[in-house]
Symmetry: C2
């Protein structure tokens, strides 16, 4: 049995986000784990494994127009590797052993510029409008929108992206042969023309609450950041933001009327500095742009550090004399929360202390680095 088929079998008998699976596969390889499972004691997992017919699984994947993508493939999203080392959220963790994919898009290429837009199923007209507007602008700017497939903000995000020039990614918590919810069948079909639907679950599987939670970690991991548009006090989107925080992604939230229940969670996250307030796609791009802020960048002169605040100075000193560092690493080194770190990096770039290179990493401006 080859690596891909072994991973497909493992993905079929284990639940997404099971902490032990990723670890075992990383240590022993998928084939060894699969063979070990088949020959194991009479546990429920072994019992399920013995029911699997690998050839049938390969066949049903193919028959339903899907492909099975694994780590190392061109299509594998780079960001998923971060799930291997990060803290669990609600006992879920781990890089997926593989992904079922359908659609005309190239998952790897689309993932490289992906940004998540998430929010409430029970969204308001305002939230739908904002999600669609942001997504259309991001898509037009060459950014891939990634989201779930639910009613409300998820659907508005995909519809917005369809209006732009970059296809979107929908991450589902069920088999892609019968994508849930049924009411979005037409939306999923349009999306799959040039975008992709992806899932950790094999054909025939239905969504469960835990599968939705495990799914959220993929949305957070594949994107460079997560934008929460609307979410009531208890919302699945909150869980996606927790994953984004754990994974050091850029966490953003869109404000709304204080009279709206669906803006309570975004406001709380902004207030507690867990998310950066964004009021337009341009602001999102500014936060994430590999070429620094859209306006006012003067990255060419070394400046005296006398005028820097203690936090700014600490951040400035975390940037190496030669080479560059990512914002996530700088935040850790300077001991600053990510939103503060990003805000200060932007300010430092505006004032000429730092610049971002083409990979989005931070470095000293040429003169300061030379001197």
């Amino acid at each position: 049995m080859d690596e891909r088929t072994a991973r497909m079998c493992l993905a079929s008998v284990t639940e997404p986000g099971h902490p032990a699976v990723g670890t075992a596969v990383a240590e022993f390889g998928a084939e060894a784990v699969w063979i070990g499972l088949l020959g194991g004691d009479e546990g429920p997992l072994t019992a399920r494994a013995r029911l699997i017919r690998p050839a049938e699984l390969v066949q049903s994947t193919k028959a339903t127009g899907q492909r099975f993508v694994i780590p190392g493939d061109d299509e594998w999203p780079v960001g998923l590797a971060d799930l291997a080392g990060c803290d669990p959220v609600q006992q879920l963790s781990g890089e997926p052993v593989g992904l079922w994919v359908t659609g005309g898009g190239h998952l790897g290429e689309l993932s490289a510029t992906a940004l998540a837009v998430v929010g409430s199923r029970a969204s308001t007209a305002y939230g739908d409008l904002v999600a669609a507007d942001f997504s259309a602008d991001l898509s037009e700017a060459g950014r891939t929108v990634i989201s779930g497939g639910a009613y409300g903000i998820d659907a508005a995000a995909h519809r917005g992206a369809l209006a732009g020039r970059t296809p979107s990614i929908a991450v589902l918590a069920c088999g892609l042969d019968s994508p849930y919810p049924r009411g979005h069948t037409r939306l999923f079909e349009r999306l799959a023309e040039s975008g992709v639907l992806i899932s950790e679950l094999p054909p025939g599987e239905h969504p469960t609450r835990v599968r939705f939670l495990a799914r959220n970690r993929l949305i957070a991991a594949i994107g460079a950041g997560v934008i929460m548009v609307e979410a009531a006090v208890r919302s699945g989107a909150r869980n996606t933001l927790t994953w984004a925080t754990v994974l050091h992604r850029v966490v953003m939230a869109v404000p709304g009327p204080v009279t709206s229940a669906t803006s309570v969670t975004p406001h709380r996250l902004i207030r507690d500095a867990e998310a950066v307030l964004v009021s337009s796609a341009a602001e999102v791009l500014e936060l994430l742009s590999p070429l620094g802020r859209a306006t006012g960048s003067r990255p060419s002169e070394a400046r005296a550090t006398d005028s820097l605040s203690v936090d700014e100075l600490r951040l400035f000193e975390s940037v190496p004399g030669r080479g560059a560092r990512g914002a996530d690493e700088l935040a850790v080194r300077a001991g600053l929360p990510m939103p503060t770190c990003l805000a200060l990096l932007s300010q430092l770039a505006d004032r000429g202390y730092l610049r971002q290179d083409t990979e989005g990493r931070w470095r000293l401006p040429p003169r300061a680095a030379a001197g």
Copy 2:
């Protein structure tokens, strides 16, 4: 000539916020400055001073139902003293030499619990609703709303306060005998029944652009904090928030729809951590309450500091072993911006590391202080 009359004369010939006036009065006393001015070279100020008839000024103040309040009086707002030492904003600075006051309220008592609610003249229905709601709740909770007298958010704030149990303070940029704008004559009358109108300008004076700017420093200085409800990109309310920042007041802003031009400035201030996001009067009170957060306060146990972030630890260590310190002083000592400082103080209180005393100052909880 007595001190009060000398100050009244000085206030009548100098423009509000003239940097030299407060300094000279503090150094030489009002009478000496006034006598010096009368005997000075033929400058425009001396020319104006010689036209003043002190007895007429006292008479017109009395005839228009006003009183003239000076530092040291019971009615003098304590917060105004902070204007003596702070940095100028647009070349304006200084504690007023005196204030004309009208209305049935006691300016000193009302000022002691004052909070400013400011915003755009060209407000939206949403902004008016939020300003009135916040102000009604603050007034009901015993907090004095202080604002200007303009159309839009100012008026909505006063109307909201009238619905509560605490009268409000209106700070005008003209003589109180003909309060501007005329369209608010009835509102000012109702406000003056148990609240107060105040101004740095003598009877008969009209508002000017600079007088509005000088007036803003009083709104910021008298209140313990400033709440911006709505403001377009260029707005006088932005200037009031600059004063509040300079004076280390709690700077708050209310978010709104990202599709609304009048929420652009609040969103920008929140995003850049210049203002704390507030979505209800309860959240405002929580930020300012002398008894700590409304919910979840567990201020009784000393905790290990291992789990604190670098910023939290720095803040925690800025709190003295005995006694207490205000948030503004802690922010300076810890080198943190005020919004960050307030957010972290709340979190530290929630987690039992710190408590607020009845004067709103921060101290170690009993056990930690003892140990």
